[in-house]
Amino acid sequence: MEVKLRIRRFNPEKDQKPYWGEYTLTDVEPTDSVLELLNRVKWEQDGTLTLRRSCAHGVCGSDAMRINGRNRLACTTLLQAIDASKVIQIEPILGLKVIKDLVTDFEAFFEHYRSVMPYFVPATPVPSNGRERYQSQADRARFDDTTKCILCACCTTSCPSFWASGQYVGPAAIVNAHRFIFDSRDGATNQRLNILAEPDGVWRCRTIFNCTPACPREIEVTRAIGEVKLAIQQGAR
């Protein structure tokens, strides 16, 4: 089959403002991913097309972009899963500065991530027998969902509250705080809750729910944010 792509282009060395580039590909299969199509444009037609990609199967989180108006990973989006009968429209994710074409500046995103203490602070000293800390299966399951995050930014850049204010830590940072707040082995819950109770923390979330369907890992993002809100209100885990 033949498909048409409409790709948002911007080269900071040449262009005053972004424009739409249009490309036609033939011999396309319904099982091709959007990433394969973008690679074909780059490799066969226009080497200046610029995007990030690495693992190409939805694990590394490099290729988040807006495909037909929805945040997705290009590599896990097969043509058969979207409407490819019309032009497929591809843009950079919103709310982060565009560097070039589909590449955005992730520094602000990672700064928010780093601000929530996204690391393990043990509640107890290491076991004197030199073995692992024990954790029950139930305690391990409590935070399983938020361990899946790949930091692709699909959630944060789908959030109207984040679009309105880039100061908001955003769903991805809260997901990563949640992963530790609800880990029975961790001892820094109150510090993280205090950080997230700040004006640019969880209360910027207006429960719009864009983040949950945007997550390519199917994390229940809005639910995780809600659990953090509740923990703050209850003042403890």
Partner: protein, 593 residues
């Protein structure tokens, strides 16, 4: 030109790189240079588990883990290295748990373990539960945990800095040159100690589980600086890549009871490995699949077979084996959630309802930059150390994995030898001085990048790469023979000519020029492919992943030694001058599973 000075520099931010950085940072000012954001590194795609003989569910011993590693490596593994790996795996896995890694748990709260190919109880010869795991995303958890700890410890990262040259001053390392991908500017990192942890080069073959970014940059930089490489002909094809894309489907599927089935519905591994069947080591299983396909027993006569993890199938074989364990669909979904997703997205298959179409996929480099068991880079078969230079993880050849790596041992390798590289760098930096930078240290690489940027020939990098990859797949793949490999070598040399003289690059800009950097990566693949094909041609025996139809037997008289390949002029010289360490006393035996 920007010049940075750090005591220690780590190139690559996967598992080995970040482990090295964490340890080096404790005693030295350390910087990590990575062409990706660290959490994009390929360690994150490892699925099934990390091997360590914790013995949480049944008796296990590090000695068994070491022997299994040596046997899996078809006796080319250095036994002193296998000993370090197996012994230190235990504390390394515990350390990961202490760092917060969310392992799955047993009923008693200890780390959960599962079966994996080639890992056995050496007395009963039965599979043993040694793979410590977190669902089927163990690599993701390791990568995230290490990155989190690096943030906690304030490690300096230079994200999206693409290393393009190692700076040597005479025979001593002085630093690294990297391109800031965003600005396109060159940066020099002047350092006392340098660790390379750049990963593998699966992108050399057309069907691969590897990320686009795995292009052999590390070994290419060493090679171009006159340093040798080791055991380059040994590259593992993982038996179960999702057909036809090659996305990895973990051996953990078979560890949980999944079986391989041909078009006749036969569990064909019973014929190739009567004792441990589907859990034989990867080279054995990949060859079995190829042979089934060749005998027209691929599914519908095509080039794939099925992996069946439907509960009714698994339970039937568990009953047949006299095991009391039974599984259901919920169990499979809980243990293999990502595999469920990959199969649904890319093959339209729900593995609890239908079998998974699979075929071998280029997966892992056993060879690479030669090191000793302390992660120190060596320059010859006499193990002469290059002070201040280290390598760890897939890019390094210790050699732990010999001719074929066992599943779960790559993650173990990252942690154990990444840690060693970090400790070594911290110690070294305490007493060593900086080696002065030579004059114009980035001159040669700057000229090469400018040549690529302004090249106006007729061949797109993509076309050259496509030819290279299919040539390697067809002629230097699972089965090999003299005439095919000689042809491949000729083709590679022609492609290198085309790359030098007839390249066409579109993007002439500076900022985020991935057209330029992809073309540069292709140059690395070409150099390393030539070395790989030459080494494969020279080793006239079959051992582990190197399987020659014209020399089907292992030849311990002539080839029980590591291949050292040295750059010489425009060519190369191959010598078998690094002996295999046999210090655990495991004499080479016929390998039966």
């Amino acid at each position: 030109m920007h010049i940075h000075q750090f005591d220690a520099v780590v190139v690559g931010a996967g598992g080995a790189g970040m482990m090295a950085a964490l340890y080096a940072s404790r005693g030295a000012r350390t910087a990590v240079i990575s062409k990706l954001y660290p959490t994009r590194s390929h360690t994150g795609t490892a699925q099934g588990g990390i091997g360590a003989s914790l013995g949480n569910l049944e008796e296990d011993r590090w000695e068994w883990h070491a022997f299994d590693t040596v046997k899996g490596g078809d006796y080319l593994s250095d036994q002193n290295a296998a000993k370090v790996l197996a012994q230190e795996a235990i504390e390394a896995v515990i350390e990961l748990e202490w760092m917060g890694l969310p392992f799955d748990r047993n009923d008693d709260g200890t780390i959960s373990q599962r079966r994996f190919g080639g890992h056995t109880n050496n007395e009963t010869k039965k599979p043993v539960r040694r793979a410590c795991h977190s669902a089927d995303r163990t690599g993701h958890m390791i990568l995230q945990t290490l990155y989190q700890n690096c943030i906690k410890e304030n490690v300096n990262f230079f994200d999206e800095f693409h290393a393009v040259d190692l700076i040597m001053n005479g025979d001593r390392p002085a630093g690294v040159v990297a391109v800031s991908i965003d600005t396109g500017e060159l940066h020099i990192f002047h350092a006392k100690a340098i660790t390379f942890a750049t990963g593998g080069w699966g992108r050399m073959w057309s069907t691969t589980s590897n990320a686009h970014t795995l292009t052999g940059d590390g070994p290419a930089m060493f090679w171009r600086n006159g340093l040798p490489l080791q055991d380059m002909e040994f590259f593992q094809f993982h038996p179960t890549g999702l057909y036809p894309l090659g996305v990895l489907i973990t051996e953990g599927v078979r560890g949980e009871g999944g079986v391989l089935i041909n078009d006749r519905g036969e569990r064909f591994m019973e014929r190739y490995a009567p004792t441990i069947k589907d859990l034989a080591s990867r080279d054995v299983v990949s060859r079995a699949i190829y042979l089934e396909v060749r005998e027209k027993r691929g599914i519908k006569g095509k080039e794939y077979v099925y992996m069946d993890v439907r509960p009714e199938t698994v339970n039937r074989y568990l009953a047949e084996a006299g095991e009391s364990r039974r599984i259901d669909a919920d169990y499979v979904r809980a243990k293999l959630p990502d595999i469920m997703d990959f199969c649904k997205i890319y093959a339209g298959v729900d593995p609890v309802e239908s079998p998974i179409p699979i075929a071998p996929t280029a997966h892992y480099a056993m060879g690479g930059i030669p090191t000793n068991i302390h992660a120190q880079v060596i320059r010859d078969g006499k193990e002469t150390v290059i002070p201040g230079l280290y390598a760890a993880g897939e890019v390094a050849c210790v050699s732990v994995h010999g001719a074929n790596r066992l599943g779960t041992n790559s993650l173990t390798d990252l942690i154990v030898f990444g840690r060693k590289a970090g400790q070594q760098m911290a110690d070294y930096c305490r007493h060593a001085d900086f080696v002065p930078l030579p004059d114009n240290p980035a001159g040669a690489i700057e000229a090469e990048l400018e040549r690529i940027r302004s090249s106006k020939g007729k061949q797109r990098p993509y076309d050259i790469r496509k030819k290279l990859r299919s040539e390697m797949m067809d002629k230097v793949g699972v089965f090999r023979q003299e005439d095919m490999m000689a042809e491949a070598l000729e083709t590679i040399r022609q492609l290198k000519e085309d790359y030098r003289n007839d390249l066409a690059v579109d993007d002439q800009g500076r900022r985020f020029n991935t057209d330029l950097l992809e073309a540069w990566e292709l140059g690395c693949l070409l150099d390393i492919a030539e070395v790989t094909a030459a080494c494969a041609l020279e080793r006239k025996e079959s051992r582990g992943a190197h399987s020659r139809e014209d020399y089907p037997k292992r030849d311990d008289v002539n080839y029980l030694a590591h291949t050292m390949v040295y750059p010489e002029g425009d060519g190369l010289r191959i010598a078998y001058d690094r002996p295999v360490d046999l210090s655990l006393g495991h004499e080479p035996k016929e390998r039966v599973y």
